[in-house]
């Protein structure tokens, strides 16, 4: 790819992470839904889970009254990721990686250290650092900085950010994202969250 293409690709990637993190932050907003409904798979013949996910989102969102739909989706978000009672699909890495069912496990601390090394910390003190939305936001943050570096002509810095991004993806997201997304698929019939799970899994685990 040429530099312009690279910039374009990085911009797209940053936007995707931005969109995904928003999709996992409560409450969902109309802007997020519009963003998700405008996703397009570049390769039209693709019959990957990615394409299926995009198809599900289109079916659910396009041409709908998003203000009404959003209420329904936020309720389903609450049921899936909040509770009360057992959180059906807890959106925290610790729940998938720790040897016991608890939040603020060792993974939380490891992720916290990765954020701090990049000069970031959770804005809300009580929120576990390994919440899916925070981890995606960190990916977005790194993509955005890679992009800015490249735009400013600093390829080395861009490379550094991308390496950091790759290692965060490998070390912290890949170990639990497949299980997390599989659980969403098992727990809900709501096409929106099924689509979101398919896309998230595909984007974060593709080689």
């Amino acid at each position: 790819m040429e530099k312009e293409e690279l910039i374009e690709a990085l911009r797209n990637q940053a936007q995707l992470y931005d969109l995904l993190r928003r999709a996992f932050i409560y409450p969902l907003t109309v802007e997020t839904l519009i963003g998700l409904s405008s996703l397009e798979v570049a390769d039209a013949d693709n019959i990957s889970p990615l394409a299926e996910g995009v198809y599900l989102l289109h079916q659910r969102l396009k041409g709908k009254d998003l203000n009404t739909l959003i209420e329904e989706l936020n309720q389903e978000y609450t049921r899936l990721f909040i509770g009360p009672g057992p959180t059906i699909v807890p959106p925290y890495a610790s729940c998938f990686l720790a040897s016991e069912t608890r939040l603020f496990g060792e993974e939380t601390l490891r992720v916290r250290k990765a954020y701090l090394a990049a000069g970031l910390a959770p804005a809300q003190a009580g929120m576990p650092d390994d919440h899916i939305a925070l981890e995606l936001e960190f990916m977005y943050f790194l993509a955005q900085h890679a992009l800015q570096s490249l735009e400013g002509g600093d390829k080395e810095s861009c490379q550094r950010y991308l390496t950091l991004q790759e290692s965060f993806l490998q070390q912290h997201l890949r170990p639990w994202i497949p299980a997390f997304c599989a659980d969403i698929l098992e727990a809900t019939e709501e096409p929106f969250f099924r689509g979101l799970a398919l896309i998230t899994n595909d984007l974060l685990t593709e080689e």
Partner: protein, 945 residues
């Protein structure tokens, strides 16, 4: 270079955001949401490994032990007991040590939520705190306008940390600020309440005690003087707030004390005893009456081997002659159920199922052994229809044998503890003058006189008791006593904070009916139900608004659970509230502001957010009256100060003489105790122990009207004044002419002035009305406590692997479930299909004697149905054992049929675990204070399948 970058950007570019959306989400517009930038300095500080140890108090059960919590990188790593708190002296139990499994539970309530389905369906939507506060405030203001503030109940189910909520709701204008103690064991406390103005008699076994020495110094006392401790229906090894009693009982025994346990079940406490007397349920008062009669009939002033009574008590008491005359008046009467004279050994043997010889031996032993303590608990006397009588007789027995407040004897721990709360609790709002229009007439009175029980059917429902719900939710309230008699109001809002009424406050089905009942227009009768807690329990399913309260390690409060002498320790915020949870203080301030904004005239800035700038300000006010006890007893706690004066202030200022002596108010005032002082002193303040603390002209620790121990409860003295703990209530009855219906049902037209007797309910062995049920329903049903799994902590993984007393055993069948995790297989996450192997998870079971089981052809693990005469039933697995009296069935309270999905694996087995409260009779409320009679019931057993 481009190649390298290419590989990292990769196929993600297959997916694109197109058109307008890309513009709307332009980079930069979406700055950080969940993450914030930190400076290098801050990042360094946050990343540095930090370890600290902080003192606080446990909330895993209401024993509230002093704890030391180790925190690593801001996360709780380990929990130990705080050695500086004498109550538990460094000890922490399995439940306390697993406290972090509550804090870090993925199941805890994390955000405010509002109901979107019907009540009971469990469908909710996350909302912001502002939305939740505004909704509640608007609704409350509406309800106040339409029905009056008295239509609102603030129920702080758990007794811990309620002060903020009470303050807010007293200020709002309702007298109904209550806690679980309202519907738990009020009969048990009755004797001490009537006779001392106290509550709880416990043996003198808290060690260490801080004692003044002859040379004026203070020293820790670890020695035990006890010779005999009798526990009747009291099981401190399994179910207690008096945490030192398990440790202390063993220590006292090692030091030579004899331990006797009277209980239908061979409890953990019985296992440590020298003697177990398996009494028939519901006959504790009968046994105590026989003991008193035996002591009175056989006492001799002459012969030392029968010198049971120590007459010195007469110097410090009123009304003994009246009491004993009333008691003796029964001796010649014949009991209709067995034709035997009341309280005789034969009579008691026939009723209690113990032998005549056992009862005589017990009576003699108690009379002759000094020091001794007779202690009764919630499982028996506390939860029977006539438990009051047992409590009164037990109190009398301790007093006349000279065991009250002597070293190694019996202590009323309620009246010797430190004062706390003071004006912070907002009780002063409850005595405001209010006006109501009753039958067209304007009537004035105090806010507290609107109380649904105290001025309704249970005038003696003192201690903020609210016993008569959920019925009042359905039927509304009509006041019968006091200035507002005739005033009618409905119950329209129910706030439940760290409680679980639906599962544990009487008949479950009645609660479900009350909270889901609708009016003709299809609206819920109780218009607003708010659930505030850390875990999500059954009652939360019926709430309109669910609020996440900070866990015990994330909030501040004060603890001092029934010690032998004054001490107070801090529940401190050792970590910041997680997720979006808020402390009770923050909830109070937030809701106060919302109410004020919604136009509530009673909620003022000056009483809330302007008065308390920080949370510490609130707790400083709550500590202001501490310890507030009199300088009385032997050895005198402060010999350097005047005897009988009230002591206030920090222990060190009192020791050092940094005090002001107010002779007019008879007070010694040191420097005020504050949260800061506590933090600087290992979290705890301890003032000296003394004994004989009631032997003082001021009354010492006694809180009775005559400043003496009172054996009579309503009398007019020579000075023309009316005395006694019942006199206030009898005045109300005389004035109104309305005899409380439950009093009338036992044949009384007012509260008796001294000894009284009536039978319990649902007992075919003592009450002739129930003999007809004996054959068809051959089992008496009682409950026990599964301490580590009481109502609210059954989702704690560590605790699910522990067994308890034949009530809580790993009799689970094999199941594959969704969304939960089991230990042995290791690291499965929640939210997956989970396999629970057979025999790996403790569940509530039905304890039954082998003799009964063989007769019914049952073996351990068989599924049975228990059916009561009201046609209600529940099912569970049988545990066949020899550790229960034949003819008795015992179930753990709140240990089965748990239908909140917030309870993890316990929820999974709800179909094969017994729900005790499905079998409770909702109409069976004890006549003096309205307490549900949890242990008065009969059942038959039917095998299932």
């Amino acid at each position: 270079m481009n190649e390298a970058l290419n590989s990292k950007i990769s196929r993600r570019c297959f997916l694109k955001i197109s058109g307008i959306a890309a513009g709307a989400l332009a980079l930069g517009s979406g700055g950080p949401i969940g993450l914030r930038p930190v400076t290098t300095e801050e990042a360094k500080r946050l990343a540095a490994p930090a370890t600290e140890t902080r003192p606080t108090a446990c909330v895993m059960c209401p024993a509230e032990c002093g704890l030391l919590v180790n925190i690593q990188d801001g996360i709780i790593s380990t929990i130990y007991g705080n050695p500086a708190v004498p109550l538990n002296a460094g000890v922490a139990c399995a439940k306390g040590a697993s406290g972090m499994q509550m804090v870090y539970s993925p199941y805890r309530i994390k955000y405010p939520m509002m109901r979107v389905g019907e009540r009971g369906e469990g469908k909710f939507k996350r909302v912001s705190w502002d939305e939740a506060f505004d909704y509640i405030a608007k609704k409350l203001v509406e309800i106040k306008k339409k029905y009056g503030p008295e239509s609102v109940i603030m129920d702080c189910g758990d007794v811990t940390d309620r002060d903020c909520y009470w303050r807010l709701f007293f200020a709002f204008g309702t007298p109904h600020c209550t806690e679980h103690g309202s519907i738990c064991d009020t009969p048990r406390r009755h004797g001490p309440k009537l006779m001392f103005g106290g509550k709880r008699i416990e043996p003198d076994i808290m060690r260490p005690q801080l004692v003044r020495q002859p040379d004026g110094s203070l020293a820790w006392n670890w020695t035990h003087k006890n010779k005999l401790i009798i526990y009747a229906g009291w099981n401190p090894f399994t179910a207690t707030r008096i945490v030192y009693e398990s440790r202390g009982t063993v220590e006292a025994k090692v030091a030579g004390a004899k331990i006797i346990v009277i209980d239908p079940a061979f409890s953990n406490t019985a296992a440590k005893a020298d003697l177990w007397l398996p009494i028939r349920p519901g006959t504790d008062a009968d046994l105590f009456a026989a003991m008193l009669r035996y002591i009175l009939e056989n006492h001799s002033d002459t012969y030392a081997d029968r010198r049971y009574i120590d007459w010195e008590f007469k110097n410090w008491s009123e009304g003994w002659d009246d009491f004993v005359a009333a008691f003796r008046s029964w001796w010649d009467k014949k009991d209709p159920i067995n034709g035997l004279p009341y309280f005789s050994l034969d009579w008691a043997a026939q009723r209690t199922g113990l032998s005549k010889e056992q009862i005589a031996e017990l009576s003699h032993l108690f009379g002759i052994t000094k020091p001794a303590a007779l202690v009764w608990g919630m499982n028996g006397i506390g939860h029977h229809f006539n438990g009051y009588i047992g409590s009164i007789l037990g109190t009398v027995l301790n007093v006349i044998t000279g065991n009250l407040d002597v070293p190694g004897g019996a202590i009323d721990t309620e009246i010797v503890k430190s004062s706390k709360g003071g004006s912070a609790t907002g009780k002063q709002f409850n005595s405001r003058e209010v006006t109501r229009i009753i039958e067209g007439k304007e009537v004035k009175g105090k806010q507290e006189e609107l109380h649904m029980d105290g001025f309704g059917d249970w005038p003696a429902a003192w201690d903020d008791v609210v016993g008569d719900y959920p019925r009042r939710f359905l039927e509304g309230v009509t006041l019968k006593q006091g200035p507002f008699r005739g005033h009618k109001y409905p119950i329209k809002a129910y706030f439940l904070r760290t409680g679980n009424s639906v599962a544990t406050a009487g008949a479950t089905w009645k609660w479900q009916e009350a909270l889901t009942a609708k009016d003709a227009q299809g609206n819920y009768k109780v218009e607003l139900v708010v659930y505030i807690d850390t875990p999500f329990l059954e009652s939360g399913l019926y709430a309109d608004v669910v609020l996440p309260e900070a866990s015990g390690f994330e909030r501040i409060s004060l603890s001092d659970i029934y010690p032998s002498h004054p001490m107070i320790y801090l529940r401190d915020q050792v970590i910041k509230p997680l997720h979006e949870s808020k402390t009770p203080w923050e909830i109070m301030i937030g809701l106060a502001k919302a109410l004020n904004k919604a136009g509530d005239p009673d909620i003022k800035a000056a009483d809330f957010w302007e008065k308390y700038k920080t949370e510490d300000d609130f707790w400083t006010e709550a500590l202001a009256p501490a310890p507030g006890i009199r300088n009385v007893g032997e050895p005198l706690p402060y010999p350097q100060y005047p005897r009988g004066y009230t002591i206030i202030g920090t222990p060190d200022s009192l020791e050092a003489g940094r005090v002001k002596i107010d002779h007019e108010k008879k007070a010694i005032i040191g420097e005020p105790l504050t949260p800061k002082w506590l933090r600087e002193h290992q979290g705890v303040a301890v003032w000296p122990m003394a004994w004989h603390r009631y032997k003082d002209p001021t009354g010492g620790i006694l809180k009775t009207s005559s400043k003496k121990i009172e054996f009579k409860w309503d009398w007019t003295a020579a000075d023309g004044k009316r005395y006694g703990q019942y006199s206030k209530y009898n005045k109300l009855i005389e004035e109104s002419g309305n005899v409380p219906p439950y009093l009338a049902s036992i044949g009384f037209n007012k509260y008796p002035s001294t000894f009284y007797w009536f039978e319990t309910r649902w007992n075919p062995y003592t009450n002739p009305d129930y003999v007809k049920y004996k054959d068809e329903y051959p089992f008496q049903l009682i409950c026990g406590r599964v301490h580590h799994a009481m109502s609210g902590t059954q989702m704690i993984e560590y605790l699910g692997h522990i067994t308890a007393e034949g009530l809580w055993l790993p009799l689970n069948d094999e199941r594959t479930v969704e969304g939960l995790e089991i230990g042995p297989a290791g690291s499965q996450g929640t939210g997956k299909r989970m396999h629970i192997p057979k025999g790996t998870w403790s569940i509530g079971v039905i304890q039954m004697n082998q003799v009964d089981a063989e007769r019914l052809g049952l073996k351990t693990g068989d599924l049975v149905e228990l059916i009561n005469p009201l046609g209600k039933s529940t099912r569970g697995k049988v545990n066949v054992c020899q550790t229960i009296r034949p003819g008795v069935i015992r179930i753990g309270f709140g240990a089965g049929g748990r239908f909140s999905p917030g309870l993890g694996k316990t929820y999974v087995y709800r179909d094969v675990t017994p729900d005790y409260n499905m079998l409770t009779d909702p109409e069976c409320l004890s006549p003096i204070m309205g307490q549900p009679c949890y242990v008065d019931m009969l059942v038959k057993v039917k095998k299932v399948g």
